[in-house]
Symmetry: C2
Subunit: 230 residues, 2 copies
Amino acid sequence: MIKTIAFDADDTLWHNERIFLSTKEKYKKLLSKYHDKNWIEERLDKTEMRNIKHFGYGVKGFTLSMIETAIELTEGRVKGEEINEIIAYSKEMLSSPIEVLEGVEETIKEVSENYHIMVITKGDLFDQEAKLARSGLGDYFDDFEVVSEKNKLVYKKILSKYEIEPNSFLMIGNSLKSDILPVVDNGAHAIHIPYETEWFHEMVTDEEAKKREFISLRKMNLVIDWLENL
Amino acid sequence: MIKTIAFDADDTLWHNERIFLSTKEKYKKLLSKYHDKNWIEERLDKTEMRNIKHFGYGVKGFTLSMIETAIELTEGRVKGEEINEIIAYSKEMLSSPIEVLEGVEETIKEVSENYHIMVITKGDLFDQEAKLARSGLGDYFDDFEVVSEKNKLVYKKILSKYEIEPNSFLMIGNSLKSDILPVVDNGAHAIHIPYETEWFHEMVTDEEAKKREFISLRKMNLVIDWLENL
């Protein structure tokens, strides 16, 4: 029945949120002489939310938001060298080693033998392509789609482009909002594998989740069992 | 013979380089109290080249390069409000109205009736999607591909993904390096329509160009005649 399996990338195939969280820690430390760390974080989150419509998702937009917040918070007193430090964070993030999540490589390898497998990920194209290359997983996948938003229409377009029947499509990802609900709403299948932390943009209410039918698994390597038991 | 026509976007369908050039002018003016304008431009171009490997192409990477250069040039003396101004340029660029080039809409409209037509563009996914939407041309196209680099292999993959015979594929664009040479090297057809200015990253030597066979037209509306005379 299932012919195509699509995987989300960040925090499904490899650690990502971790890199943002550790950069945020460095950022708060850098600016801690100006303000309280909690206040810095609150303001940064607000800038980020406000800037999504300009910059979309990804490291570069996040970096511009960090710079903007630093100027705002210090009423322009932030030093050139401190902003330079923030730009250096972005280059570190963009080139940091990719830590593939536990059980992912074995699972991908096994399913790649019997299914058409692809990555469907949101974010910055350049950044995501570089991460796939650095992850060493690139060769397992038949297709790689980077989209700017993951909603019902975007999935519908992908299904139509690859001539995939919704009923034969399975999406696996850590975000209910991006990987699960819009897929189920297209009549396709979805497996939710929660990550250790959840990004505030990606949260959905219990009610929204309860309206849909999907599978939730604790770890990637349980996917194989699930497929075998179909 | 030709079944699919693909168009480059920036400076082929709409003005783009212009927006970068006018931002550069504002940037040089902003920093002119610190340095000579030519020197500022030279340094910015160098930072941009150096940062392509980190940031790829697009407004956000360009903005980070402007900020980095401003700090470097002023040895950190650049003011917070000046950096804020640079961030404001980026938001302006990202939301500036799209000026479709002369003859483009009529041509696209006409060819869309008889050919499978698509956009193949390099750059930032979020940015390019937003521009296509703002251009009002989106509905004419059957497919839209944003790639991080345009080389022989990337075109080969696209042709294979859409099951297009190279001989039935025509690419139209303003850049010899990105739109013409790698397409011709795949055995497909290409029409070069030069833009009013050429970006320094995109220049190729006469020799490289002379080795390939392609058509060069002065304006987009000449494409229709060319197709009719095939």
